[in-house]
């Protein structure tokens, strides 16, 4: 994925939309902040998600972090290999570290999401 073309949630999820399907993951910045990942949970295929709804969680040695959906729609695929290869979240967050694919109607609400530039700014400010 070209990171500059992605949209970002303030909660560190990224989203890429193509042909009505949104691919969602978390950013390398988020994975680095979490450090020492030990577990993650993804939703089942078929589940309906609303914008901002918790779709899973990722856990470090220290804490649990919920994952929030930046879009609304139906989960059509989950990256079931990922929970067994958590290091991909750090090493290939925007590629093989993707988490779920969601079929959406229309485009994501860009006014609620951040551009690459705006997201970079948020990270630089330490959020």
């Amino acid at each position: 994925m070209n990171q500059e073309e992605l949209l970002y949630a303030e909660t560190h999820e990224w989203v890429h939309v193509e042909s009505g399907v949104a691919t969602i993951g978390i950013t390398a910045f988020a994975a680095e902040q979490l450090t020492d990942l030990v577990y993650m949970e993804l939703p089942e295929v078929g589940r309906q998600l609303n914008v901002g709804e918790e779709f899973g969680e990722v856990e470090s040695v220290k804490a649990v972090s919920p994952l929030y959906s930046p879009v609304a729609g139906e989960v059509i695929e989950a990256n079931t290999e990922l929970p067994g290869k958590l290091d991909l979240l750090g090493s290939d967050a925007f590629g093989s570290g993707w988490m779920i694919k969601v079929r959406i109607s229309g485009e994501p609400d860009a006014s609620k999401l951040l551009s690459h530039e705006a997201y970079q700014k948020q990270c630089a400010e330490g959020n």
Partner: protein
């Protein structure tokens, strides 16, 4: 406790080293310098340096300080020889735990002696307030909060003792477990004790605040060939959990008594009374309803503090107080309180991890024990 976040004498070092910092008990403390797990392994296999300056250090001067502490602590202090250190508890009248503390009997090189309590950072203010009215009958005992005038550094790991070789005026290698002495580095006094909170061999050092930076740097330099790493509060938590050491605010609180917490060994009732002793004698005789246990959770998902513990009939029988994936053992471990009838080793448990059930078993504590 003020709203302002206090720095330790080492805060600027942590920031310069790139630590992830977080407020803890009013202090700006390092959580990790990159990886909790890497720091955890460094402590188990080599040596690590922790800034624990946030821990409260309260000094008692005066001939009757042992007598006062005998009244306040669950273990006798008056028979603690100079150089001795004792783990003890401070309870309220009902037997609830106000804090778990280390009491030191320190002998200065000049020959003078005093006692010192090392208390939990989050309890320091509470303990000082608790002490004040109870010291009225001991006007000759002078109590001073030395926390901000001093710094405390923990050097922990199998190579801790090798690290300090030649560093102090008097070598530390003969120091017994739970003993301390006062030595010097660069003509400045350092209290050195063979204690820690990680399950490893090691030392804890108390220095003047303005000497902390220099001694920290020296330890980092001396430990370089042993693979020393600075370590934060993150791995301190995983280390102490593997070693099954209770943590105040998690395994211990004012609504938990020492008997339920499995700390009966730290309550000495013979020929003495202390604040809370009457209540505790009764709890001991009646046997506690719920007790602290070690739990191994099956699978890979850790149970966290607050997760409910259920029996085979889905009835609530307790709750998790601390849990993580053990970096040493590579599987989820936890401590928690369960109804006494479910506390035997091997008892099957079910943990409700945020809506999903995980199978678990009561296992012996500690989870990890070093080879001595």
């Amino acid at each position: 406790m003020t709203d302002n976040i206090a720095s330790t004498p080492l805060t600027s070092w942590h920031r310069a080293a790139g630590a992830t910092m977080s407020p803890f008990a009013g202090f700006d403390m390092p959580i990790h310098y990159g990886s909790i797990v890497a720091e955890h392994h460094a402590c188990r296999n080599a040596a690590t340096l922790f800034d624990v300056s946030h821990m409260g250090r309260i000094r008692f001067d005066g001939d009757r300080s042992a007598e006062l502490l005998d009244r306040l602590l669950t273990r006798r202090v008056s028979d603690l020889a100079p150089g001795g250190i004792r783990y003890s508890l401070m309870c309220n009248e009902e037997g609830g735990i106000l804090d778990d503390v280390l009491v030191y009997h320190i002998e200065k090189p000049s020959g003078g002696r005093f006692h010192m309590l090392v208390v939990n950072a989050s309890n320091r203010q509470k303990i000082i307030e608790w002490l004040t009215p109870r010291m009225a009958d001991y006007p000759d005992v002078i109590c001073t909060d030395r926390t901000e005038l001093t710094s405390m550094i923990a050097l922990q790991g199998p190579l801790a003792m090798a690290t300090v070789e030649g560093l102090f005026k008097h070598p530390a290698d003969k120091l017994g477990y739970y003993h301390s002495y006062v030595t010097e580095q660069f003509n400045k006094p350092v209290i050195v004790s063979r204690t820690g909170y990680t399950g490893e061999d090691g030392l804890e050092l108390i220095t003047r605040a303005d000497e902390a930076g220099r001694i920290w740097e020296n330890l980092m330099l001396a430990g370089r060939k042993h693979g020393i790493q600075a370590a934060g509060l993150g791995c301190r938590d995983t280390l102490r959990l593997e070693a099954a050491m209770p943590l105040y605010g998690h395994e211990l609180s004012e609504s938990i008594d020492p008997i339920s917490a499995g700390l009966g060994f730290a309550c000495n009732f013979k020929d003495r009374t202390f604040i809370g002793s009457e209540a505790l004698v009764k709890i001991k005789a009646d046997q506690p309803q719920s007790v602290r246990v070690g739990i191994r959770v099956e699978g890979v998902r850790p149970a966290r503090e607050g997760c409910q513990i259920l029996d085979a009939n889905d009835q609530n029988i307790g709750a998790i107080t601390s849990g993580t994936v053990s970096p040493t053992l590579q599987y989820p471990i936890a401590m928690g309180y369960v109804a006494a009838e479910h506390s035997q080793i091997g008892s099957p448990l079910t943990i409700d991890i945020r809506g999903k059930r995980a199978a678990a078993n009561v296992v012996p504590l500690p989870f990890y024990k070093r080879n001595r």
